[in-house]
Homo-oligomer: 684 residues x 2
């Protein structure tokens, strides 16, 4: 402290507000580093990469107590001039590594110049993703070999990373050793390397090397491996931008539609599990080829991949027989997160790309649920939030900052339109929205692919291409709820006779009644009805979902939740009011029921872009209280109560303040009885 620095110019960085005095001639990048200001650089201050661009402000800043003169920064030097003339720069920008401090100055770091830049999520309530990827690019200048002091090229490259980037103990993959020597010489001992920064199992590793300054980026995949579809986002690991998104059907479908049928396939067929492992990996590779072709990037640039999936998919993808998941006590081979290499899983991306699988929460609550927890962060919520990932199996999280509980519940495929007589997957022609007039009992509806309601002019023209082909998952939920509100189906779930309901659309169909929604037979289409068996399927599915949520509320010691998040692609299309009429979700203010879209996929993307998030979710999952519905006696009790529409014991006061449900029951002693006790366990 021999030098009096009190007269040195003051540098104030915005938006951080960090400030300090620096000797005249100090580069802005140096000042930023010394103050811990987040200012990016790949070339290490050599005026090559331009990642350190900043915007100086001039004039008087009373807020900062600074007046900035026109000559507060050094004049443009040749490096800056050359960069601007060759590559162009936004007016007012300077290169932080070239512009030096000459007087008091206020310097703004634009978002794109920050290492830990934020990737903004579209939903208002969702946290942004802070960039902190596992793999980053570094430009280095490497010492040439010297016979007087012999050392390997890799060792001198390591020294450069240590001296120029403070990266210690960096190793190299074998393929780097195999390709590095000509690259070093081609770049005249200047190279850019992609370094995986290491994790709790692995030291840092060089993944890629380019001669000179490499202007491109490296990429990562966030993959949501579902039993029906595999969806992937290809992300730029520097900017965080999703450069392509794509999905394919899971090729395992040919071994069974739902998870239990796949587990059965592996039990009944020697080598069945291996067949399914090969199938899903082949599908994965097809998807990766598709997505990298779409983005026009070399697959070898994909150096990191994060996978989320349910436990059965998890095991089959890893080549583990899911046998134990098919029976109590549902023991996972491993529940922890996994750090592997792409070639362990026969993935055709970068040969030693790092692969991360999120931890599983329990035998029925997989890495996909962990990803939902990462995306929706119930553990960070002030109010008590219920997160439901609706699929063939529902994963349910309930919690707040205090604690988080998790369970899964076997809803079955009814919510996806399967096992419903007129059900179908969500596709053009499927009924997705329904209203039934409470007086006339006449339905009006809208199908996927058309904005026109069935009772509006132009409907026939609008559906000319698709026809009306069936009812999708969100459609059947609205339809059953509307039937309940219109007095066509009663609380126990029985469809009334034409006399009881006052509409000829109810007709005897075997031993029970069905409701005619639409007759397309005149056009060669189907006759779309809701049978009492369909009602039963929906009752079982929604009862399973509700009783899982109710069980967690019991365990938490509460009777109501503050808000409800519906996750999953299907969740995005569910009408909160209809879901509540059905008694599918607990009673709550309608504006507190929101959709999170594909939260599992978002969780995968967060884990891909921020390596701290991986540690975070591992901690969170360890702390989550797991509840196994199969061994909880109260689950059965809740299930029976929840078989009624909306529920035979729960009051639903908020719902009742909005809608008045008919109280009549249609059971006259004969016919079909509610079989709420019947259950099957299924997984999604």
């Amino acid at each position: 402290m021999s030098t009096d620095t009190s007269q040195d110019p003051l540098v104030v960085f915005t938006p951080s507000g960090k400030r300090g005095r620096f000797a005249k001639g100090t580069p802005i990048l140096t000042a930023a580093r010394q103050l811990g200001v987040d200012l990016d650089s790949v070339c290490g201050g050599r005026g090559i990469c331009s990642k350190c661009q900043v915007t100086p402000s001039y004039g008087q800043f009373s807020k900062h107590g600074v007046t900035v003169q026109e000559d507060a920064l050094s004049a443009w030097n040749s490096v800056e001039e050359r960069y601007k003339s060759k590559r162009g720069m936004i007016d007012g920008r300077r290169l932080g590594c070239q512009a030096t401090v000459q007087g008091d100055v206020v310097v703004d770091v634009p978002p794109e110049s920050q290492v830990h830049k934020q990737v903004v999520r579209k939903r208002a309530e969702a946290r942004d993703i802070v960039m902190n990827p596992s793999t980053k690019l570094f430009y280095v200048e490497v010492q040439q070999p010297d016979m007087h002091d012999p050392s390997g090229d890799l060792e001198r490259l390591r020294d450069a990373l240590r001296d120029q980037w403070q990266l210690d103990n960096v190793h190299a993959d074998l393929h780097i050793l195999q390709t590095m020597q000509p690259v070093l010489r081609k770049g005249d001992w200047k190279v850019t390397v992609a370094v995986h920064l290491g994790d709790r199992e692995n030291a840092p590793r060089i993944m890629h090397i380019w001669p000179g300054y490499y202007e491109g980026s490296v990429y990562g995949l966030a993959v949501d491996l579902g039993s029906t579809t595999i969806a992937a986002h290809l992300c730029d690991l520097h900017s965080g931008v999703v450069v392509a998104s794509s999905g394919i059907m899971n090729p395992q479908i040919r071994f069974g539609e739902d998870l239990m049928s796949r587990v059965s396939y592996s039990m009944m067929n020697a080598g069945g599990a291996q067949e399914m492992t090969v199938a899903v990996r082949e599908g994965m590779n097809a998807l990766f080829t598709q997505i990298s072709t779409e983005a026009a990037i070399d697959k070898a640039l994909i150096v990191d991949a994060v996978f989320v999936c349910n436990p059965v998919m998890h095991h089959l993808f890893l080549g583990i027989d899911p046998f134990e998941l098919g029976q109590a006590p549902f023991a996972l081979a491993t529940s922890n997160s996994l750090r592997l290499r792409a070639d362990d899983l026969d993935l055709n991306i970068h040969p030693s790309a790092r692969v991360y699988l999120l931890p599983c929460i329990a035998g029925h609550v997989g890495a996909d649920a962990a990803a939902v927890a990462l995306s929706e962060a119930p553990d960070k919520s002030e109010d008590l939030v219920l997160v439901v990932d609706v699929g063939t199996n529902a994963e349910i999280l309930l919690g707040n900052r205090e604690k988080v509980l998790a369970c899964s519940s076997p809803t079955g495929p009814a919510f996806e339109g399967a096992q419903i007589s007129s059900g179908q997957r969500a596709a053009p022609g499927a009924i997705e929205r329904v209203e039934i007039d409470p007086i006339t009992k006449e339905p009006r509806f809208r199908v996927i692919g058309s904005d026109v309601w069935s009772d509006e002019d132009g409907f026939d023209e609008a559906i000319a291409g698709s026809g009306v082909t069936g009812i999708c998952g969100s459609g059947i939920i609205e339809l059953v709820a509307e039937m309940r509100m219109a007095g066509i189906v009663d609380a126990p779930g029985l469809i009334g006779t034409p006399e009881q309901t006052g509409t000829e659309r109810c007709f005897l169909d075997g031993r029970t009644y069905s409701y005619l929604v639409y007759d397309a037979t005149a056009r060669g289409g189907p006759r779309i009805t809701v049978t009492n068996r369909d009602i039963r399927e929906i009752q079982m599915a929604k009862a399973a979902l509700y009783s899982g949520a109710r069980l967690l509320m019991d365990k938490f010691g509460v009777d109501k939740v503050d808000r409800i998040v519906l996750a999953g692609a299907f969740g995005a299309h569910i009408s909160p009011k209809h879901a509540m009429v059905l008694g599918m979700i607990p009673d709550a203010p309608l504006d507190k029921v929101t959709s999170a879209g594909n939260a599992a996929g978002t969780g995968a993307r967060i884990a891909l872009l921020n390596r701290d998030a991986r540690m975070e979710i591992e901690e969170t999952v360890r702390a989550i209280h797991k509840v196994e519905t199969a061994i909880e006696p109260r689950f059965q009790e809740h299930f029976v109560n929840a078989s009624a529409i909306p529920n035979s014991v729960e009051p639903f006061p908020i719902l009742n303040s909005i809608v008045t449900l008919p109280t009549a029951t249609f059971n006259t002693g004969g016919g079909d009885k509610s079989d709420g006790g019947r259950r099957r366990r299924r997984r999604e």
Copy 2:
């Protein structure tokens, strides 16, 4: 310290001498662990593995101040009885985990019950190898899965390793995850696992799992990958015993006999380096199949492998083009040690067996030289030792505790009988020992495969099978040295005329004279001679070797060394006296010139059996002063001087006290001149 333990029985362990008082009923194994006595156990004290056997001694031990009563240990319990009746035990032995302290006792731990047992090396001066392998076996009892507290099978296995063996942060290879679940259940939640204990790059990992207590062992390979041969020792990783040794020719020989011709092959042929990589790996796998078949063990039990090799072999084995090693500045791709997996190198042993390559010292001084340094430990030597690994290229180490220097020198293949007119590889029929009568100038010799000298009765019968086919490497050294002592060749290296030498065995052969050793033409064999060109080849080879050693002596600041170790298979057959007459090695007392055999292979075995030795040699190699002969002007000077036999300037006083060399020179102004300045660089 609330309990007074001063009256507890005293337990004295031998040979360590460690002692302590323990409460009555304390198992001997527990006492040993508390005192830090090296007592083995794989089953964790359950009376299954019997690795903790000890021998109690009874009676009076004045040395220890103890009298041991007959009832000093507990009586045999049922576990011990059962073990002894089923498996048998040496009389007087007890199971340390079952026998408990009842009174003062002296307990001997036999060598086979020590974890860090010593593997005795045959040579008197060599240090024993202390067992400390990378991979060990552990028997554990694992918690069964519990639906109330769900966790993966692996996580409970990890917990067991932590609680029962204090092994923390243990991970599992993917193939373990794929096979573990049925094994845990088959063993009723009792399993034996082989754990690689981790290293500076990798966390500990489970490599293998067996149901119940596994009585077998796991194995490792110590491989010396030479340019001519590949030799491997298969070692038991618990006992350290070599269970099989085997070798094959390096299949790369078809691409070139010596290293430089292989480097040339890769330069001249696109894909040539890859061809050689495939060839050497295929050869390696053939060797591994051969050696495991010989030992009758499953290759999947080979979980660790250590490789030593010269830099060119190192690069080709790793799949790195050796291009840079063919030209100054001889830059290695990497000089550090490498930790890889077997499947990185396409090796067909345990799928994720750990592979360790020793560090290279410099571009010409490879991991084989590092292995020699590990075996011969010049860095631990009180006296100044010169270690020479004689091959096509000589690696030379000079040092003591203070410092160690290293270089390599291009001796060429003459010492292996190549480029010698009557030379051949060491094989039956090759002349390996020679004496020439200084008066009659008549030679007598012995060939490989026979103990009878050529002038003894029964020689013809003894060689009837092989004939006399040529001269091997050690034979040519003795022959040239004998010719020098007998006055047939002079100090500058010229063979005399019949007149000058007094023998008709010298005959004009082109422009120079040759010496007839043996004429087998009558039997259809060759006429075995030494030409003046052969003398030149030997002169160049020995001058290269000597001047490398001399250069290191210069750098060390000494004129003589205390002792010389000849390493390499060839070194084992060299006669110290003849080598010194030739001026191949510096002047030294003959009894201070010893052979270390295949020191590189031994170094590989040490690194295999003791993981601390890996760290040690990495440190040693970092500390070694590397000397590059190619850029040292004095090397040329030494080379020219060393072209004379033994040397034109060095006095060799010890040698002169034993033998008197003729001083006559045969050069009469014409004929062939010594061309000591001519050099080629070759590698071994």
